[in-house]
Amino acid sequence: MILTRENLINLILAAALLAIPLIANAAGQPFYITLATRVAILALAATGLNLALGVGGLVSFGHAAFFGIGGYVAGILASHSFSGEPVLFGLSGTNQMWIIWLVAMALAGVVGLAIGAISLRTSGVYFIMITLAFAQMVYYFAVSWPAYGGEDGLSILVRNQFPGVMTMVPMNFFLICYVILLVGIALFAVIRASRFGAALQAARQNEVRVATVGIQPYRIRLTGFVLSAMITGLAGALFADLNRFVSPSMLSWHMSGELIVLIILGGTGRLFGPLAGAALYVAFEYALGGITERWQFFLGLILLLVVLFARGGLVGLLAGKAKHG
């Protein structure tokens, strides 16, 4: 890895995310560990979206669907594991995180395949609105389906288990999320640098050329969209375990908007953009929330100014313009 300015910033970001909870742990301030865990999980969700949005140029306004599906997988499997009733066809629930992660990714992937297959027939504004509409469909389904709490959501009584780790200890759970985030970011880098990633970027830049060299843009995009949904779904499962609660708000269109905001704040298509964005977002939320009850107003104002005047996001601001590959 060449030590460019961007790589240096990435290293600092990754180190800082690890250092803050370690310091907080030593100082006996578990609240900051939770905050850092939140950053890690949101960054993972946004990394998933970054694959579709940043690399593939697919502005999905419906990624909350996958985030929420991951969350509901964690909640539903855990509640069945607790009650002992089978989920479907005699399959029992589980409180093992790694099984939950796999199921969350699989289900998010399948739903992503269905949504992507229809939405990717369109492009531009249509794509934005259709992904939004499908996410709303999942949202309303969750609200009106009474079996798992409906509008009130579903609590996870005890955080799910990971072999050999006490997950209820905040620091342990943070480390799990941190490692998964790093794996997710590494995966993002590998995918982006692969032949597939090159095709996905090319499909964003010039669809006709991609088609003329014999690659179907539709298939490439659909694959990218599904991978993106799976990563975001995994983050959703972690998010439900962090809060030990899942509700339709994870599926709401505000969540989809927030995920896009994270990417833009950090820098679109940048490897560590989602992490920078998530850190900035949670910091804003926390700092502004401490100053004024009306923090959403100022968050909106800051976001507006970033969109209008600082389009490269935080990473762009610090590391300069992205090199086009």
Partner: protein
């Protein structure tokens, strides 16, 4: 199930459709002329409802409130256009989505700041209170019929405005070739502001009308906004005719689906589950309809010819 009940639900569906049309017309006009996707359109709907409720409470007259809603929404639209939206026409859709998302946060929190978190209530004006008898013996509120009539009137007025006036001619010209009409000496920037304010006024009007049958609260515009998106996607983005048909289709499908599906489900599953399954499917019905339409016609039912 009686025919009268079905008729009542059908009217409710048409009423929802008419309101959706007022929202969708503004959205689709703004997209058609300026190429802009405006998420904050739901906020303008909310501004209209709040202006109407506040002024009606202050003056005691719903009608003054209604005028205030038009003025407030159009003014808010014009200010937002001048301050923010104008910088977004040359940007990609992602920037437009984000900037207008930011505007929603500001509008919602700003309204909560001004009016507090409690919903306001707006009374139906005395002239339109009461109910009329429907064939079959049930009664239907006059006010809802008045909404349908007002919506139809606005739709007709909009049609006349766009097809018969000089402003309408410029709007149509702006849709087909914005550089050319600029070159021909039309002040395109003012035209954009006017179109945006017009769309905002339509949204504000819809908000005020609906405000009298629902509570007026922060966030009321968002569900309507998303339904309006479904409408214009079904109808073809940029097409007013598509918006009208799409709105009626969505309004009637949604209302009748919620009414009929639970009853239909009784035929297949035990009654205890029929309500839940029927309700859940009904809440997804319009999205399923949208998916089917898009699977067949990816650009909607009436895609604009030049796009």
């Amino acid at each position: 199930m009686t025919i009268a009940l079905a008729l009542e639900q059908l009217l409710n569906g048409i009423q929802l459709g008419v309101m959706l049309f007022l929202m969708a017309a503004g959205l689709t006009l703004i997209f058609g002329v300026m190429g802009l996707i405006n998420l904050a359109h739901g906020s303008l709907y909310m501004v209209g409802a709040f202006a109407c409720a506040a002024v009606a409470a202050w003056t005691g007259s719903f009608w003054i409130g209604l005028v205030a809603s038009l003025v407030a929404a159009a003014a808010a639209g014009a200010i937002v256009e001048l301050a923010v939206i104008r910088r977004l026409y040359d940007r990609d859709h992602l920037d437009q989505v984000l900037a207008t998302f930011a505007l929603i946060l500001m509008f919602s929190e700003g309204t909560r700041w001004l009016f507090g978190s409690f919903p306001l209530y707006l009374d139906i004006p005395p002239l339109l209170q009461g109910a009329v008898a429907l064939p079959g013996g049930t009664e239907y509120p006059v006010y809802r019929l008045a909404i349908i009539a007002a919506g139809a009137l606005v739709a007709f007025g909009l049609y006349m405005l766009i097809s018969r006036t000089r402003l309408g001619m410029r709007i149509r010209a702006g849709e087909s070739d914005r550089e050319m009409i600029g070159a021909l000496g039309v002040d395109i920037r003012t035209l954009y502001t006017v179109v945006f304010a017009l769309g905002a006024a339509l949204a504000g009007f819809a908000g005020a009308m609906v405000g009298a049958i629902q509570s007026v609260q922060v966030g009321m515009g968002e569900p309507v906004l998303i339904l309006a998106f479904v409408v214009i996607v079904i109808g073809g983005i940029g097409s007013i005719k598509g918006a009208l048909l799409g709105a009626l289709l969505v309004g009637v499908t949604d209302t009748m689906g919620r009414f009929l599906l639970p009853k239909l489900m009784v035929l297949f599953v035990p009654p205890a589950q029929a309500g839940a399954i029927g309700g859940a499917v009904a809440s997804m019905l319009i999205y399923i309809v949208m998916a089917i339409i898009l699977a067949v016609k990816p650009r909607g039912l009436f895609p604009p010819a030049h796009a």
